[in-house]
């Protein structure tokens, strides 16, 4: 046994080589290149120059336009995260109470959005959300609104569509935490005199915090870095950071500026994720183990 163990010593490295190559080649290298690109100078006439400068960063950090852009993206991601939390947590609790056969069915329904191509799904939504689309017809028919609501090419539309596709991530994260909970704890709370609502609020929910947090991080990150949905649903009227980066790269051809925005987006997302993680871990220290 010992002998075979020794002979296989190099195997773990060898086996992780493909994954490592993929990781370095497709993530680390492009990220580093983007970082370097963002420090290159750019001239409207002559294009990208080889000289290095901090100009793009200074430009972004001194221009109110970019602050607004980042703020809009941040609020959009936060909104999507909060809505996913509010819908996803109760949905997961309901799901866990279902019979196994129904659970399977509803999991397919919940994971459905992930099974459909982003373009097909987004175009489907844009049909639903248009001025004469189904959503507006229903709202008008019910008399909720008097005139068609602007859903397409609006922030509301983006948030609806992002929530639809990102909700599964929240549900999966909360579900996996829920499975690890002691299923007698709610019964214990009931026997001690807590009603059903109090039991969920005081006993179940705090223990779900790790799942809610990791789900929120995934949803927030994916919202902030989403491109297809804001581009197709928001169009030119609602600009977010990712669509701004796209414009710099492909319309203004100012690659270094686009790269600088991309780097700042990454820094911003990492800062939010790490910050909220720290905060939650301190607040709910005992359930993170």
């Amino acid at each position: 046994m010992l002998k075979t163990g020794k002979r296989l010593n190099g195997a773990p490295w060898l086996l992780s080589l493909p994954a490592l190559a993929l990781f370095v080649g497709l993530l680390a290298v492009p990220l580093a290149l983007t970082g370097i690109l963002s420090f290159h100078a750019y001239d409207g006439m002559r294009g990208m120059e080889s000289a290095l400068s901090m100009r793009h960063y200074v430009e972004i950090l001194t221009d109110g336009y970019y602050y607004e852009l980042f703020l809009r993206t941040g609020l959009m991601s936060l909104g999507v995260t909060v809505i996913c939390m509010v819908i996803g947590v109760p949905e997961t609790l309901i799901l866990s109470k279902m019979r196994p056969a129904w659970q399977g069915t509803f999991f397919v329904v919940i994971l459905g959005p992930l099974l459909i191509s982003v373009i097909v799904r987004t175009l489907g939504w844009s049909i639903l959300l248009s001025r004469h689309g189904m959503v507006n017809s229903i709202l008008l028919g019910l008399g909720v609104v008097e005139r068609p609501v602007q859903l397409l090419y609006s922030m509301t539309g983006i948030v609806i569509v992002l929530t639809h596709v990102l909700l599964p991530f929240m549900i999966i994260a909360v579900w996996s935490t829920l499975q690890r909970l002691d299923n007698q704890a709610p019964n214990a709370a009931r026997s001690l005199g807590a009603g059903q609502f109090t039991t969920y609020w005081r006993i179940v929910l705090p223990q779900l915090m790790p799942g809610i947090l990791s789900g929120s991080i995934i949803v927030f990150t994916l919202s902030a870095s989403a491109f297809a949905t804001p581009a197709l649903i928001g169009g030119r009227r609602v600009k977010v950071v990712t669509t701004a980066i796209y414009d710099e790269f492909l319309n203004s051809l100012n690659w270094p500026l686009g790269a600088a925005i991309a780097v700042l987006l990454l820094v911003g997302i990492v800062a939010v994720v790490v910050g909220s993680n720290r905060l939650a871990e301190r607040r709910f220290k005992q359930v993170f183990s």
Binding site: Q184, A185, A188, R190, S191, G193, A194, I203, Q286, S289
Partner: protein, 356 residues
């Protein structure tokens, strides 16, 4: 007057799986009753119905004369200690113990005293600010007991509370929990598959099998006068001897097993040529090979400190005998020995009841 009564309590799943079938049970105030049985016998389902976590299909749960069958678990005033302890990991020991009091809107001034009182009952004073994961298994269990007792429940329900403790701690807790229950005079129901636990702690034991009570009685009654082969086998070890009746004179009969003949009291045994008898291992005696009722050979001898266990291949079947370690010379494996017993210790195995 009984404190808790179960009347015709039944639970049927999917219309055909009978987890519990028409259970009738009266538990007196301050009594400690165990539901003892193998897994799947319906003992935990019964407890869950008493606690209100599972609605019964039929029958009722009555506490102090009040029908609780349709009452929500939070309104039943029952303290439950779970197998997993089910402590709230995000709350400190004091918060765990105080949770039930908080739900009962106990005044702030009184709250601290009640928590202290509950923790001192289980000898955990000083650990108020710890969190469950900072405690040992034994301490967690004590918190669970304190939490259940803090609300001063009408009935204490214990769902295999000792199964996660090591053997030594378990036997200590048996004594301690029993003493605590006596001191508080609280009615308690224990669910367990451990016959030692049931016997050391209970006033009465209900042996359960297939959703029914196979036998109900004090530990001594259940052990010495098992009502069925099931109860007999489940509580301790029993040597079962199957023989034929050679002749019968009222209660007494001459039994033959092969060429061996001996007499036994078979009172209560209905007519028939064959009879099943049992004798507990501690009632068998080992003597020299020529003096016993039957001869046998020791095939295994196990030394357990306080006593020996001998496995004997004998003329009347495979037998197990236990002997106290009194310093006398004991037979070795391979020795030919004689086996004898007091006639009164050999008893007829009671017939299985129809549904056991």
């Amino acid at each position: 007057m009984s404190n808790l009564s179960l009347r015709g309590l039944s639970k049927t799943y999917a219309g055909q799986i009978h987890a519990v079938q028409g259970l009738d049970l009266e538990v007196a105030q301050g009594e400690f009753l165990s539901l003892l049985g193998p897994s799947g016998c319906g003992k935990t389902t019964t407890l869950q119905m008493v606690a209100g976590f599972i609605p019964p299909t039929e029958g009722s749960v009555v506490v102090e004369g009040r029908d609780m069958t349709r009452v929500a678990p939070e309104k039943r005033d029952m303290g439950v200690v779970f197998q997993s302890y089910a402590l709230f990991p995000h709350m400190s020991v004091a918060q765990n113990v105080g949770f039930g009091l908080e739900m009962r809107k106990v005044k702030k001034s009184e709250l601290q005293d009640r928590i202290d009182e509950a923790l001192s009952m289980v000898r955990l004073s000083g650990l108020e600010d710890r969190y469950p994961r900072e405690l040992s298994g034994g301490q967690r269990q004590r918190v669970a007991i304190a939490r259940a007792l803090a609300i001063r429940p009408k009935v204490l329900l214990l769902d295999e509370p000792m199964s996660n403790l090591d053997a030594k701690l378990r036997s200590e807790m048996h004594v301690e929990l029993r003493a605590l229950q006596r001191r508080l005079g609280i009615t308690a129901i224990l669910v367990t598959h451990d016959q030692v636990e049931a016997m050391t702690m209970s006033d009465r034991i209900a042996v359960m099998s297939n959703g029914c009570i196979a036998q109900l009685g004090s530990p001594i009654e259940v052990y010495d006068k098992p009502a069925s082969e099931f109860a007999l086998r489940f509580l301790g070890h029993a040597n079962i001897i199957a023989g034929g009746i050679s002749s019968r004179d009222g209660r007494n009969a001459v039994i033959h097993v092969g060429s061996i003949e001996f007499t036994a009291d078979i009172g209560g045994h209905s007519d028939g040529a064959d009879v099943k008898l049992f004798i507990r291992p501690e009632r068998l005696r080992i003597c020299s090979a020529d003096k016993g009722v039957a001869k046998g050979r020791v095939v295994a001898s196990l030394f357990l400190g306080g006593f020996w266990i001998f496995e004997i291949e004998s003329e009347i079947g495979k037998l197990r005998a236990t002997l106290q370690n009194l310093g006398t010379v004991q037979p070795c494996e391979g020795d030919e020995v004689g086996i004898t017993w007091n006639a009164a210790d050999l008893r007829v195995v009671a017939h299985e009841t129809a549904n056991a």
